[in-house]
């Protein structure tokens, strides 16, 4: 049962991501952070996430309120216990500077959210399989 931390502030977008994840891998156990601060607290197991698991994958929206998405890879990659967690940025921004910044901070992948849900599911499948393996692998 892979634990996936999903950081996303837009409820609609979060719905689509969760739907896509559930489509590609029903065994995924999603954990939700509604902003950057929550995401960092989760990773640091700070209240109210003291018992939180170490996620197997972080799906990160880039433009997060409170604490910006960029802080997540920055903290993760500089903290030994969580350094190895794959991070996939999933965002509507295809701005070059965001791509570059994300790559620079050690993000594993940068995925632009496709407008067509089908296309989006395809890209989610692609990276979940890459970092979590298939459902069949787990079984």
């Amino acid at each position: 049962m892979p634990d996936v931390l999903i950081a996303e502030d837009d409820p609609a977008a979060l719905h689509l991501t969760l739907k896509a994840l559930s489509i590609v891998n029903s065994r995924i156990r999603p954990h939700i952070a509604r902003n950057g601060a929550e995401a960092l607290a989760f990773l640091r197991r700070q209240a109210p996430y003291t018992g939180a698991p170490k996620p197997d994958l972080i799906v990160l929206d880039w433009n997060l309120p409170k604490v910006h998405g960029r802080e997540v890879p920055a903290v993760t990659r500089s903290t030994d216990a969580i350094r190895d967690i794959p991070i996939v940025v999933v965002t509507t921004s295809d701005a070059e500077k965001d791509r570059e910044e994300a790559a620079h901070l050690g993000v594993n992948e940068y995925v632009v959210k496709a407008p067509h849900f089908r296309d989006f599911v395809a890209s989610v499948r692609d990276f979940t399989e890459r970092y979590l393996g298939t459902e069949q692998d787990e079984e």
């Binding site: 977008a13 959210k113 407008p115």
Partner: protein, 867 residues
């Protein structure tokens, strides 16, 4: 021989021979007996006394004696018969005879006795002494009137005769001298010597003139001695050979000679006195020094000893000529003369000559001056003059030209000889001569150096009468020969012309031009300066240039100005200087200045071109504001672009995604219309998404960084061809291109450019016609012109321009899909590369899009790159 017809019988003399002798005697001869009776006379007696023979024979001889002597005559006669002997004529006796007519006349008588058996007779030879007495009287008179002391001595040295001058000169009475040896007049120490001379003289007597080199002394009665000069001449008389000595007291002459000698010695020049024969009679110490001869080696030598051998003949000629017409000739009267030293070396001299008339005749005095140094310095000066670039004219105090150089000849058109010794006014235009005379005289009163161009406008006059503007600098020249003035004359015709041209040029300059001298004084301004600063020209000339500088900057400006003259170079306008000018009314305004040094014959100047940049300043401020605004709006645009890329797309994605999900949920549960509504929602949302993407693209191209590299356009083309492969395969179209050039640019953007153009070329195709696209490139200067030609639908001429406008679409989305932003992005990309893009087409005949891109070697101007 004739016999006398009447001959009284002389007692005792039977024969006629005696009678005949008496008749032939030259003198009147009278024979008397011891009683004094005349017994015989000759014809001469008859003639001399005017008697006939018969009237005298038998008469007492006293008939022939004047009355006043007659009474005493018989005493002489008796005395003679008492001791008859030969007595010569004129032995000191003054005798007279009386003629029959009673007239008396001086006679000289010699008596001789004649002893016969009839007793003693006496024969008297009587000569008329009238002529001789007259001659004697004349001689004595002559003697007395002679200027010199005359002393006549006989062979024995006894004084026979002296004149009054002798008495005066020697202090003796005549009587005390006559009959005494002449040595009484000779100093005792010299008497022996004199005796020898005197005897020698009588052996070979001849005329010896005065002053023939004899230094003699006389001795007065009081024993004092004095210098004399003697000329001797022999005097033959009846009484034998005498000697006449003319004696002259030369005390005064000696004294004056002494004085002259002293004078000579103190003369600064070598003084040489020669006589008419050219013999040196006197020299001074300077002569010894100058010629290296000791005095003794010169005296009595021909003066030519001091003249170089090569000039001897000529000199002799000159010398003789001088004595024929002797007059004073001053030094330096144009004669080039040479002296010769004892060692044979020559040296240039100057001679002044003056005749010297003395009692001893005419001499010539020559004052000789060594002018080696002067010659040298003159030579130097002459050389210097010749090397001078200007015409040099040297005049003396009287204003006469003494020296000119070649430049003067050239400049004024005269030969040197035509100028030398002429008044300098020959070089001055006639209208100015009077004034010049005044100036010249004034100059010699207070001569000082006056430099060229000291504000004087002067004119020269050529030999042909033409005039030309000149500039003169004057300097006094002090020499041994007095004060001169040197004038350096420069023809400034060309400069005047150039100045006029320069002034014209200045006036036509668009900027205010201000020329200042080293001291910062304004020398020249143009009309623009007057206009710009509000001053008239007259108010500016000769003012410090700081008059044009704001007051608070003036002191700093002075520093800058002097600094500039220390290292003057061209400084162009707008070299970062923020300057201000000050108008006459005190207002200030921003200016820009370019400076350039101006070298002139009058010195160093600086030219300032002053430009009023008020307008530019205003424009700059506007521009800066504009740029600031632009920057702000660019920032806003960037923000917008970013927002567009995320915040606009996020809700759009939600619309699309949930519309799709909803649609899926509703499949089969909704009407056909409702089903189509989902389609409209999705289509609209997708179009909106495309527009947002395109706008983002445009803003990206705008913000593109200009880091251009060499780009191989063939590679761009290959990328495009690959992307279009499926489209081409579907339509059966083709893209043709030969080898394309390298350009300078951004590879990604250029690929985008080709892509958009090729997309269009393939897209706008006539139905059923396979697209054929040809790409070519040719070079135009530093650019390559690319042409992408298709065989598509084409566009009209108006549309050729419109197509590049943003969101300009010529067709509906049904016909040809697209947002209408592709070509405006192409335009942006091309222009960002410094090129331009345009379309050529006719509807139905395909379209050709042309654009230029810079060659790899092209250096793009910033404005070109940002156009």
């Amino acid at each position: 021989m004739s016999t006398t017809t009447i001959t009284p019988a002389i007692p005792g003399i039977e024969n006629d021979w005696y009678r005949e002798i008496v008749e032939t005697a030259p003198d009147a001869t009278v024979m008397i007996d011891s009683d004094g009776r005349i017994v015989l006379i000759n014809r001469q007696t008859e003639i001399l006394f005017g008697y006939e023979r018969k009237e005298l024979l038998g008469e007492l001889v006293e008939v022939l004696v004047p009355d006043r002597y007659r009474g005493k005559h018989h005493i002489h006669r008796d005395g003679y018969f008492g001791d008859p002997n030969m007595r010569e004529m004129g032995a000191g006796l003054e005798l007279s005879g009386v003629r029959k007519d009673g007239t008396e006349f001086p006679v000289e008588i010699s008596l001789s006795p004649l002893r016969t058996d009839r007793g003693v007779f006496a024969t008297a030879a009587i000569r008329d002494a009238t002529a001789r007495r007259a001659a004697e009287a004349q001689f004595k008179n002559l003697l007395e009137t002679a200027p010199d002391a005359m002393v006549i001595i006989n062979r024995q040295g006894v004084i026979e005769l002296v004149n009054a001058q002798t008495e005066r000169m020697f202090g003796y009475k005549r009587e005390a001298l006559v009959g005494r040896p002449v040595e009484v007049l000779v100093p005792e120490t010299l008497r022996d010597q004199h005796l020898a001379h005197r005897r020698g003289y009588f052996v070979d007597p001849k005329v010896r003139e005065m002053g023939a080199g004899l230094e003699l002394s006389g001795r007065r009665k009081d024993g004092s001695e004095f210098p004399i000069e003697i000329s001797l001449s022999p005097l033959e008389t009846d009484e034998g050979r005498l000697a006449t000595a003319a004696i002259r007291d030369i005390t005064d002459r000696k004294k004056s000679q002494e004085q002259m000698r002293n004078l000579l010695e103190t003369a600064p020049d070598a003084m040489i006195i020669i006589d008419q024969r050219g013999t040196i009679k006197l020299v001074n110490a300077q002569t010894e020094r100058l010629f290296g001869f000791p005095r003794d080696a010169l005296i009595d030598q021909p003066v030519e000893i001091l003249v170089p051998a090569r000039l001897h003949d000529k000199h002799v000629g000159h010398r003789k000529g001088y004595f024929t017409d002797p007059k004073i000739r001053e030094m330096g009267a144009g004669l080039e003369l040479w002296g010769s030293r004892q060692d044979g070396t020559e040296f240039p001299i100057e001679i002044s000559l003056s005749p010297l008339d003395t009692e001893e005749g005419r001499f010539a005095t020559a004052a000789v001056r060594d002018i080696t140094n002067r010659k040298k310095s003159q030579e130097q000066m002459r050389n210097l003059l010749e090397t001078a670039p200007d015409a040099m004219v040297i005049i003396d105090q009287t204003g006469h030209i003494t020296l000119v150089n070649r430049q003067t000849e050239r400049l004024f058109g005269y030969d040197r000889d035509e100028l030398i010794r002429q008044p300098v006014e020959i070089l001055v235009p006639e209208r100015l001569r009077d004034r010049h005379l005044g100036h010249r005289t004034g100059y010699f009163v207070d001569p000082k150096v006056r430099e060229m161009g000291a504000g004087l406008e002067l004119w020269g006059r050529r030999a042909d009468g033409s005039e030309f503007p000149i500039e003169i600098s004057l300097s006094p020249l002090e020499t041994e020969e007095g004060r001169f003035a040197t004038a350096a004359v420069r023809d400034i015709t060309d400069r005047k012309k150039a100045q006029a041209q320069f002034k014209n040029l200045l006036e036509t300059a668009p900027d205010a031009m201000v020329i200042i001298d080293r001291n910062g004084r304004i020398n020249l301004v143009n009309q623009q300066t007057e206009r710009l600063f509000g001053y008239t020209r007259g108010e500016l000339i000769d003012q410090p240039v700081e008059i044009l500088v704001p007051e608070n900057l003036r002191s700093r400006h002075v520093g800058h100005r002097s600094g500039y003259f220390d290292d003057p170079k061209v400084r162009e306008m707008g070299a970062g200087l923020e300057l201000s000018g000050r108008r006459k009314d005190g207002t200030e305004f921003p200016i820009e200045i370019s400076l350039s040094p101006l070298e002139t014959p009058d010195g160093q100047f600086a030219t300032a071109a002053v430009r009023d940049i008020t307008e530019r300043k205003t424009a700059q401020i506007k521009l800066t504001d504009y740029a600031r605004n632009l920057e702000a709006s660019n920032r806003e645009l960037e923000e917008f672009a970013y927002v567009a890329s995320h915040d606009l797309q996020a809700p759009l994605r939600n619309i699309i995604s949930f519309s799709e999900l909803l649609h899926d949920e509703c499949v089969g549960k909704i009407s056909e219309d409702a089903d189509r509504y989902f389609g409209f929602i999705e289509e609209g949302a997708l179009r909106l998404q495309g527009l947002i993407k395109d706008i983002l693209e445009v803003s990206r191209v705008n913000r593109m960084e200009r880091s251009f590299i060499t780009v191989d356009t063939n590679e761009c083309m290959e990328t495009c061809r690959l992307q279009l492969r499926s489209v081409l395969e579907d339509s059966g179209g083709r893209i043709d291109f030969a080898r394309l050039p390298d350009v300078k640019g951004d590879a990604l953007r250029l690929t985008q450019l080709f892509q958009n153009l090729l997309n269009n070329a393939v897209k706008f195709q006539r139905p059923g016609v396979p697209p054929l696209v040809t790409i070519t490139a040719r070079r135009f200067g530093e650019f390559w012109e690319f042409a992408i030609a298709d065989n598509g639908i084409g566009i009209s001429a108006d549309e050729c321009v419109q197509v590049f406008e943003i969101f300009r679409r010529l067709h509906t989305a049904d016909e040809y899909p697209g947002t209408g932003i592709g070509l405006s992005i192409c335009k942006k990309i091309v222009e960002t590369h410094g090129g331009r893009i345009w379309a050529e087409s006719e509807p139905g005949k395909g379209a050709t899009f042309r654009f230029t891109l810079p060659d790899t070697a092209t250096v793009l101007a910033p404005e070109q790159a940002h156009a």
